[in-house]
Symmetry: C2
Subunit: 434 residues, 2 copies
């Protein structure tokens, strides 16, 4: 497209998502794969549970032996020992016998059901009990007799082999995002690691000779660097491993060498500042000719967008691996809004997520006066969203330097390109910043 083309927000995002591809998958240990997208279909290798087992602490019995049992006329069974989870032993329950069994322990051969300990005298020869004596108090295991006060149907309190999932069934589909329950299932079927798309490594640089590190003395004419902090934090929130390089002075050579230096650890580069029409806009100066012109998609293109804030933007790729780079404007609100609209989707596309953008909602505008918006530009104003009321209230003005208002907002109010005024009470679209 020519240099005079003004890009819409949708066109710019489409261009980015068309060029940013999911990262190559790698094998990761389960806890390192948290939040990542699975790239393989996972089939269950062994049924779950792997064997019939008890769902209660109690006694494994033959149903005929406890048929008709009651508190007055309990079934009296010979206790042949313990079946504990993890050390099943080799007991077989014969007629008139019972094995003391723990939750999760395999149902021993011969047994057909489990009666909970609360339905028995616990082998103490007295009334019903609520609990077993600890194994450590009688390490030889249970012996003697147990009185059972209730009958049990076949398979009562038995969890059947394969009742959760069966061998050969699909456990999880490729594309699943791995949260705690999905990691639980993978662990339960024995997977110690899985193939996922890794979290992208995002390098954040701010540019500007006027930028001073917070906590230091502020020289005259300087301001504190805030963009590199905000965008590093925002990149992490989006799912990335983010590195804050901090502020680089307005010198094209320094910027170029800093970026080249950082490429080794970057799946995505984000810069702020230096992309407009000024004489010291070094990001534009340093990067607009770095592409290999013979290679499609290489090099950074600088554009004007039909949006406010965030009009000047750069996007392209850089370095031998064609690492994507987004060059955002330098005003704090502009860079943050640009991050939400363009960088967050790029990060989530690198992760292989389908859902790349923030959720939106429709809300009633709560304001004393109409909002005005420039014609031909999509405007993003800061607001506070009231979910209960389905309403949004503007916070602060449209100025792209108003950081305090941004810090008290939780939504962006979207005013479309062809709208120049929004009346109080009108319905607007809001981007929920979460």
């Amino acid at each position: 497209m020519g240099r005079t083309h003004i890009w819409s927000v949708a066109e710019h995002l489409e261009d980015i998502l068309g060029a940013v591809h999911p990262l190559e998958p790698i094998e990761l240990q389960l806890l390192d794969a948290q939040g990542c997208v699975l790239v393989e279909d996972i089939t269950v290798p062994v049924s779950l549970p792997p064997f019939d087992n008890s769902s209660m602490d109690g006694y494994a019995v033959r149903t005929a032996d406890v048929a008709g049992a009651g508190e007055e006329f309990p079934a009296v069974l010979e206790v042949i020992g313990d079946v504990a989870a993890g050390s099943p032993g080799d007991l077989t329950v014969g007629p008139g016998q019972a094995a003391r069994i723990m939750t999760g322990a395999p149902l021993p051969p011969g047994a057909e059901a489990v009666v909970p300990v609360e339905w028995t005298d616990g082998g103490l020869g007295e009334g019903p009990v609520g609990t077993m004596n600890p194994h450590s108090a009688s390490p030889e295991g249970a012996t003697g007799e147990v009185r059972v006060h209730r009958p049990a149907e076949a398979r009562a309190h038995v969890r059947a082999r394969g009742s959760d999932v069966k061998a050969g069934e699909r456990a999880l589909d490729a594309g699943t995002v791995l949260g705690p329950p999905q990691l639980a299932l993978l662990a339960a079927i024995g997977r110690g690691s899985v193939r996922v798309r890794p979290r992208p490594r995002v390098v954040v640089l701010s540019t500007g000779s006027e930028l001073t590190q917070p906590g230091e003395e502020l020289p005259e004419g300087h301001i504190y660097d805030s963009n590199s902090f905000a965008l590093t934090a925002a990149a992490r929130d989006a799912g990335a491993i983010a590195y804050r390089v901090g502020a680089v002075a307005d010198d094209a050579e320094t910027l170029r060498s800093t970026i080249e230096d950082q490429l080794i650890r970057a799946d995505l580069l984000v810069t702020t500042g230096g992309v407009s029409v000024g004489a010291y806009d070094v990001v534009k100066e340093a990067l607009q000719h770095v592409g290999d012109e013979d290679e499609a998609g290489s090099g950074i293109e600088f554009r004007k967008l039909a949006m406010q804030p965030g009009k000047p933007q750069g996007f392209g790729s850089i370095g031998p691996d064609h690492t994507p780079l987004l060059a955002l404007p330098g005003n704090p609100v502009s860079s943050y809004v640009s991050f939400e609209l363009f960088v967050r989707p790029a990060i989530r596309a690198l992760m292989g997520l389908k859902d790349v953008s923030r959720p939106t909602a429709r809300a009633e505008l709560r304001a004393d006066t109409p909002l005005s918006s420039p014609s031909g530009k999509r405007q993003f104003l800061r607001g506070r969203y009231d979910e209960e009321a389905g309403a949004v209230t503007p916070v602060g003005g449209a100025g792209s330097h108003l950081i305090a208002a941004l810090a008290h907002a939780d939504a962006l109010i979207v005013v479309p390109e062809d709208t120049t005024e929004v009346a109080p009470g009108a319905e607007v679209e809001v981007v929920l910043l979460g």
Copy 2:
């Protein structure tokens, strides 16, 4: 309370939240404070912006000099040099003069407004221009004459000192959760570090001699440890720094010494398994007498809750620092549901967050048959929530060993204590697992 008391879900949670207090605040660097709760009111030390500055790349002028300017009869001004952001120099704009100025650079003395470069000939003596020549192409700065094609009102394109926030104003209140925009504001006012409540360190242990590490060969009668993975991941999701110790065998002495060993890095301990009525329930055996009986709130109390799954639970504190410990049941679904209901709120209370529990919603039950639920117990079933339709569909059955169903759920369906059946189409409460 006596040993026969059956605790409600609400009573147990109230007991936990009454005993778990926010961690002592510490001073953290901005990016380490992400997601943490601020404990100090932050006052603005220096107004923002700290000086009047240009919002555009253009020329700083005196308004009288450009009054009545048009494209046909431009105002012709003497260019006295550059004012760049970060290196303001000492120019003063006199009558008939202009200084070339960059976005963010201080408005020089004498100037009253900024005209954007697009309203001028950029000093080239031809028509209107869209951009400035790079500084690097003419390092001596701008000289000669500029033609201005439009008038400017006083203060046009000038961002006034203090127009974002003024010195002495409140920037952020204690209690604010620090996300990217709040970190931006802190950085912008020069704060390099802040006092916040740190993320709690949570140690997760599963217990059971039947547990094998995923990825290893599964011995007969064993199952894979999944709880320690699920709860470590869930603790991280809740905001904690989580350490997975893994599975400990059913031996009280081993468990006690493992816990003592871990106390040094724990703000909260979570165990799974060994809390019921079996003979090998070593968590109960190991921990129910560890408290110093003379000291209020010390020691772990084991209880029965009126809930399903998750009936047996332990809670108390342990060690010289009275570190809180939650002992959850061992069935995977029971432990996960218990985590969501009790551990997540505990973690968030340690962080000082007000909003400790998952959000809930009302939804229409979508099912072919009624749900049945035991009388006197609050039941939590797994479901899939459809926000658009305001409906929830049960996934899998009530069995507390059904991990596969849990991995396909995104909500818990709550069936109250006094409800034994829920008809299809009825409204139910759902806990949104997010």
